[in-house]
Amino acid sequence: MTDPHAALDQLDDAGFRALVRGWLRANYPPELRNPPHRLHLAAARPWYDRLAAQGWLAPGWPREHGGMGLSAARQMIMIEEFERHGCARLPDHGIVMVGPLLIQHGSEAQRARFLPKILSGDHIWCQGYSEPNAGSDLASLRTEAVLEGAHWVVNGQKTWTTLATDANWIFLLARTDKTARKQDGISFLLVPMDSPGISVRPIVNLELQDEFCEVFFDNVRVPRENLVGAVNRGWSMAKALLGFERIFLGSPRQSAYALARLRRLAEHVGVAEEAGFIERHTRLRLDLADHQALYEVFAARLRRGEVLGAEVSMLKLHQSELFQRITEAMLEIAGEAAGLLEPMAGNRDLHPSGLFIQARPTSIYGGSNEIQRNILARDVLRLPG
């Protein structure tokens, strides 16, 4: 089998960026640009399949496992171009989480069994981390797995499981030792969603969408070999998996998208040339530009192969609050239309209330901004506990 990505290695960064950009223009389904909500699998499938056919589903996986084997710098370029083009996020937990987990900690058999199914799109994964009483304090999770012969018997409840209704597999953090310190008794399990005893309840969110679910486990029997890595070592694996991801919660994309729409809204309602609006808008523009500069500082470190420390929390903090402030400005200038359920004038780009609500959870998910500030204070500023 020849290396399908060898040609990419011949390109310099600019050439690679141009290639990606051109390919997206030619191949990305135009109706899926900048979707207002997370897409369900059925809607995202054409895009999943096109990436799969191109062999571009897994930019970060090593080539021997079917990935593109790109450097961190090249992955950043792909992400930047995808964001710039307004590409929808895939149901990508298999690619982003399960693949890297198995490549690093899985057995040979697990890799052979699961990786090809992810690349083909046969397995769609969802993530079983959060619980009703284990959100910000994830390590206090209580879903438990007890070994009975050849099976782990799982009982408990997960929540905030994105698109669980679309997934046929779930990767799960479960407590396997109740006597240990809370971080030390947690293991990683791979569970088919059609296992007897699993039930899924979609949760309607403030956007009136059902992308989140609760997943209930009632004596679910999971084959013993579906445990990843060592037993009771799941916590450190899960933490390490989040490392590379954390910068993306700080991507300027959402704020840039919103700021462009703030401008369009201002034009639509006729305040774009008013001094008060210009001043507020300029402040937000400068905040975004400086955010982009700060993001670039971290992206450059990633490109150089450095590991990002706790300081990356800054990006998530600032981007989410900037995104929110932009949508607050939208609401203020929108007049009565701030209260409309649907976009103004049938134009999806003029939907202040929609973006305002969409911005709310960005300061809650992925570690609430309170947690991010705790992290900065403790791990970066070394303030006493």
């Binding site: 959060s130 959100g135 949760i203 009136l208 007049g335 209260g339 359920l341 709310r360």
Partner: protein
């Protein structure tokens, strides 16, 4: 208009007690949820009950069959309605009731007929002066952002030729609606040479009252969602502690409390100003101050209610979101905070008059 009955603590208590019939303190929101996102968005049986409670005649003189209460009473009621997220357009109906002709008034006061004001012709405007025309008993009008319009039997319409009473089912009248975040709707009313009755009087003072009552409704929204949030902070545990013991959350709660109390003081002062018969300019300044404060504070408090709850508040089934959506709809109704600040800046006397 006769001098309103001064509002004492007893009168407020009575109003609160009566409000509990529709919006019980600490009650659940099943009725409110059931009405969301459907037309007409209100419950006719509840409307009749509202009539029986006398709220629709709150601002109508006793001699005319009303309660003869003042703006302070109106605001006290509005706060209760806001705390209960009551969707029925009681305040809009009540502020125009004193303008209605006696023939119409009786059916309005007992809850048989719902008459709502239709005054606005463009977005984000306080201006009831109008391009609509009333000529020879025929009304031609184009009115926008009429909250809960689908439940009205008729409209009190502002025109360049004075006020007109229009039946919703008159020939030449059409109404379209757009759903709002809180589950209600805005109506767009079009009348083309529709048969209509001229009505004496001016809408201006009623609109000031409606604006202030909107602020007071938002105060109720804040009071209730803040109480909900404090309950959550007192009981929810993370990291082995009540989250309300975390100082960062405590300080944020203190700041929200301050904004709510500033809003209350601002509204109370404005209501007293209106009841004291202040000039139109002084009244407008007081109302603008209160509405600007209430709009900004309500968005702040409801946003922070979501943040302080964390993920659970991002579900539609949790009540916090209901308050956020209500604040989104009411913040800019009867003028955004920015619009009211601009009006205040235009009308208020120089601030250092007594700094001699």
């Amino acid at each position: 208009m006769t001098t309103p009955i001064p509002l004492d603590d007893e009168a407020i208590r009575l109003l609160r007690d009566s409000a509990a019939a529709i919006a019980p303190p600490g009650g659940d929101f099943r009725r409110i949820r059931a009405l969301r996102y459907h037309l007409p968005g209100i419950d006719p049986a509840v409307w009749r009950q509202i009539g029986e409670l006398g709220w629709l005649g709150l601002r109508v003189a006793e001699a005319a069959g009303g309660a003869g209460l003042g703006v302070q009473a109106l605001c006290a009621l509005a706060r209760e309605l806001g705390a209960g997220l009551v969707p029925e357009p009681i305040l809009a109906a009540a502020v125009i009731a004193p303008l209605l002709p006696p023939a119409t008034l009786a059916a309005v006061l007992d809850g048989t007929r719902i008459i709502l004001p239709a005054w606005q012709e463009r977005a984000n405007s306080l201006d009831a002066a109008s391009a609509s025309v009333l000529h020879d008993g025929r009304l031609s009008a184009h009115k926008v952002f009429v909250p809960m319009a689908a439940c009205a039997h008729g409209f009190l319409v502002s025109t360049r030729d004075g006020l007109a009473l229009l039946a919703a089912d008159a020939e030449g009248v059409s109404l379209t609606t757009e759903p709002t975040q809180d589950g209600g709707h805005f109506g767009t009313l079009r009348a083309t040479k529709a048969l209509s009755t001229p009505v004496a009087g001016a809408l201006g003072p009623a609109l000031e009252e409606a604006t202030l009552a909107t602020a007071a409704y938002l105060l109720g929204v804040m009071d209730r969602v803040f109480a909900l949030t404090l309950d959550y902070l007192r009981t929810r545990e993370q990291f082995g502690r009540k989250i309300g013991s975390f100082q960062a959350l405590q300080h944020r709660a203190a700041d929200l409390h301050l904004q709510i109390e500033l809003t209350r003081a601002s509204i109370d002062a404005a209501a007293a100003t209106l009841d004291a018969g202040a000039s139109a300019t002084v009244a407008a300044c007081a109302v603008s101050r209160a509405k600007a404060r209430a709009a900004e504070a309500a968005l702040l408090v409801t946003r922070q209610a979501i943040q302080l709850h964390g993920g659970i508040a991002y579900t539609d089934e949790y009540d916090a979101g209901l308050f956020l959506r209500k604040a989104m709809v009411l913040a800019n109704l009867h003028g955004s905070a920015a619009l009211h600040r601009a009006r205040y800046a235009r009308l208020a006397p120089p601030e250092d008059a007594d700094d001699d």
